[in-house]
Amino acid sequence: MRGLAAHSNGFHSIRSLSILMSILGTIDRPGGFRHKAPFPRPIPPCAKTPTGPEGVQPNTPLAGMPLGWPADPDDLFVDEQGEPVRIDKAFSWEHPLAVHGLMHNVITNAWRGDPYKIDTLMIFMANMAWNSSMNTVDVRQMLNDKDENGEFKIPFLVVCDAFQSEMVAFADLVLPDTTYLERHDVMSMLDRPISEYDGPVDSVRVPVVPPKGECKPFQEVLIELGTRLKLPAFTHEDGSRKFRDYPDFVINYETAPGSGIGFLAGWRGKGGEKFMKGEPNPSQWELYEKNNCVFHYELPRSYQYMRNWNQGYLRWAQDHSLTRYAEPINIHIYSEVLQKFRLAAQGRTPGGRVPPERLRKRVDTYFDPLPFYYEPLEAQYSDKHRYPLNALTQRPMAMYHSWDSQNAWLRQIHTYNYLYVNAQTAQAAGIVDGGWMWAESQWGKVRCLCRYSQAVEPGTVWTWNAVGKAAGAWGLSPQANESQQGFLLNHLISEELPAHSAGEHISNSDPVTGQAGWYDVRVRIYPTDAEEPEVSSPQFEPLQPVPGQSKRPSWLAWFAGGKKGHR
C-alpha cells in the first residue's frame, strides 16, 4: 500500500483527513467521498479474531476469523502476559487494530522464533525475497539461515508463483501457478469487490486459454489441501469431499449453512432470480459469462447518497443482508474505540486487560481519541543531520498491478530505474544528471543512477518500485538492464525499528494499525568514486536457469492466432 496511509503515522493522518471531510459534510455527497457497497459499515459490531492462545488448537478450526476488527482490549489476540499469539503479532498491544495483519514481519519473526517457531512457510504471489520485503538483503539471509544444530530456521518453504521470481529461488517446493488468463477468479463481495458508487458490483475471470505444463491455479491447490486435510469447511460430516473444484466452491460456499451469502452476489437463487442473497445457483458461472463477467446492481437514485444515514438505503442493505442493523452509521469524530485502549494503558479499566509495561506509554500516546500529527516513528529514531532526505517509491502506471513487468513490451517502457533527485539537491551533493551515485540510510546503501527532476521537492528523493530485479530472475538474462542498472530501494528500509523503550524488535509500522511504514526512511546521497564499477549495488549471485526453462529468443514477433474481428 502506498500514499498517506503507508507511514507509521498513517492512521492518524488518514483519520484527520476523514474527519475534515466529515466536518465539511462531504461524506457520501456528490463530489465528496462516496461509499461503495458493502460500505458504509458500523464498527462495532464486526467480525472478530480469537482472543487468546486457547483459540488455536491442533486439528481444530480457528475459534474466530483469521482477521477481524478489535473494538475493545478484550478483543485482542494476546496471551496471559498480554503478549502476541500470532506470528505477525497482529491484534496484540504492539499493533492492536492490525486489520490487515503484518505480513512484512512474518519472515523475521519466524526466523527469530518470536513468538514461536514454524515448520512450514507458504507464500503465494508475494515476492518476499525482493520487492515485497523491507530489509531485503537480511530477509534473504533469514530464508537460508540455519540454527546451531545445522537445521534451517525456516525448514520448509512452499512458494506458489506463475513466474521464476526472486522468491521462487528460495523455495523447497514450487507450486507453478497459472496466470489470470488461465483460471477462474472472483472479485467477491466477501473481499474487496469492484463496487461502483451507484451500487454493488462484483466480477469473475474465466479461463481463456488452457494452463501450460503442470501449472495449477493456486485456488485449486488450496481446495485440494483443505479437502485432503478434511477441514470442516471442505468436507461433509462423514469426511467426504464437499467441493469438486474452485468453480464449484465459488458457487456453493455459503458464509454459514443456508445463509444464502456467498462469493458472488449476482444471479443467486435456483434460477438466478435473486441477488446479494439467495440459494446457490448451479449456473451462476454461465450467467456471469453471459453478462461480460460482471454483476452490477444499480441502487435507486435516492439510495445513492448519504448512506450512513439514508433510511431507505440502510433498510435495503439490511433486507439484502449487507448489514445486520438499519441504524444510522455514525462517524466517530471522537473515537470511543481508541479511548478504551488508552484508558487500559492508563490503568483506568479495573479488572480489564492492560498492555505490558513496556507498551503502556506507546498505547497511551497513539490511541488518542482525536487525531494528531507526529513524525513517523523511524524518523524519530534517525539521525536527521546525517540523513537529511526522505526517500520513497511508487509503482509506475504502465506496470501497476502487473505481476509480469518483465514481459517483452512492458520492460521496454521501464527497462531500469533512476533515483529522482531535485536538481539543486543533486548539484549540492556533487552528483551529475544521469551519473552514478550512492543513497544510504542507517540500514544500508544502494548504488544507482541519478536523474535530475524539478517535479520533486528538494528534501525528498524517489524511484520506481520493483523495476530493478535480481540478475537472472524472471527469466531475464543476467545482463538485463533491470539488474545491472536497475535497483531496489527496499535495501534502505527496515522491517523493525531500532531498539527503544517499547521493545527491541518493534515492527516499523503504524502503532495503531500495523500498516507497514514503507517509506519513513531518511537517507543521504553522494556521488560514486571514479574507479567504481558502473553497475547498481547490491548485486546477488545470478540465478541459474532451471530445468525446462525455455531459451530466450534473440528477437520476437508475436502474432496472435485469432480470426479477424475476433477479440
Binding site: 466477501l190 448489514t323 502506471m397 528538494p458 520476437l556
Partner: protein
C-alpha cells in the same frame, strides 16, 4: 472529403501507456504486423511501436508540471513522407485521409523517415519495411465488430478518455468541436504538413463556490417520520467479512 484523426487531451493523459501496449497488441497480429522486439529478455531490449508516450517536466520547482505526451503518426494532410517515396509504397488515402505504407512495395530505403519532421516512422529491421500508425484501419471499418468498438485500439484502451477519434473535416464531429472549443492545436505547424491529429492543451482548474450552494434548501430532516424498528434473522455479510 473525410480526414480521420486523433485528438489527444494532454490535460487528462496520465501517462499510463495503455494506448501503447493495446496498439501493439492489436497491430502486431493484424495486416500492419508483426511488430518485432529485439533482445526481448536481454540487455537493451528494443522494438517497434506505432505509439509511444514521452514524459517530460516543464518549469522549475515548485512551479512544475509533468507532461505525458503520446506520439504517433499525425496523418498529415500534406504529408512530406509521401512524395519522397520512390516506389509509391507510402500513400495517403483519398477516402479518409489515412496515411499508409504498402509493405509489398516498400523497399526499406527510409526516405520517408528522413522526411517526417515528427519522427513517427519506424523501420522494421526484420521485415525491412517501414511501419507506422494505421489509425487501426483494420478495426474502424470492420462490421463484425459492434459499432462502438470500430475505433482505434488506443482510443478503446485509454482509461481517462484522453483520446478522441473522428473526422476533423466534419465541423460538427466530436473531434472538430474539441479542437474548436478547447484550443486544439497541431504540432509544429510551421512545417506546413498540416497534421490531422491535434492536441488539447493543459488547463488550469479553478473552482468557484457560490454562496447559495452552501445552504441545503431541501433538508430531509424536516420531512422524516419515525418508523418501527426492523430486525432480520440469520447471518449477514458483516458477520463474516474481514476487511
Amino acid at each position: 472529403m473525410t480526414q480521420l484523426a486523433l485528438v489527444i487531451d494532454l490535460n487528462v493523459c496520465v501517462g499510463c501507456h495503455a494506448c501503447v501496449t493495446s496498439c501493439k497488441q492489436w497491430n502486431t497480429s493484424g495486416p500492419a504486423g508483426y511488430m518485432s522486439d529485439d533482445n526481448p529478455y536481454d540487455k537493451d531490449p528494443t522494438g517497434t511501436f506505432f505509439n509511444r508516450v514521452q514524459t517530460f517536466e516543464v518549469g522549475d520547482y515548485p512551479n512544475t508540471e509533468t507532461v505525458h505526451f503520446p506520439k504517433s503518426c499525425l496523418h498529415c494532410e500534406d504529408p512530406p513522407c509521401v512524395p519522397v517515396c520512390p516506389t509509391g509504397a507510402s500513400y495517403k488515402r483519398e477516402s479518409d485521409g489515412i496515411v499508409l505504407v504498402d509493405y509489398d512495395k516498400c523497399i526499406g530505403c527510409k526516405y520517408c523517415s528522413w522526411a517526417c519532421p515528427y519522427g513517427m516512422r519506424e523501420i522494421d529491421e526484420h521485415q525491412k519495411v517501414m511501419k507506422k500508425c494505421t489509425l487501426c484501419v483494420d478495426r474502424i471499418y470492420d462490421t463484425s465488430l459492434p459499432e462502438a468498438e470500430r475505433k482505434p485500439a488506443c482510443v478503446m484502451a485509454c482509461p481517462t478518455n484522453a483520446r478522441l477519434f473522428g473526422d476533423v473535416h466534419d465541423p460538427e464531429s466530436e473531434v472538430s468541436l474539441a479542437i474548436r472549443e478547447r484550443g486544439g492545436y497541431p504540432l509544429m505547424p510551421e512545417w506546413g504538413t498540416k497534421p490531422a491529429n491535434h492536441y488539447l492543451p493543459r488547463r488550469k482548474t479553478r473552482i468557484t463556490i457560490h454562496e447559495d450552494e452552501l445552504i441545503r434548501a431541501d433538508n430531509p430532516l424536516k420531512k422524516e417520520r419515525k418508523q418501527a424498528p426492523h430486525t432480520i434473522e440469520g447471518p449477514t455479510l458483516d458477520d463474516s467479512t474481514m476487511w
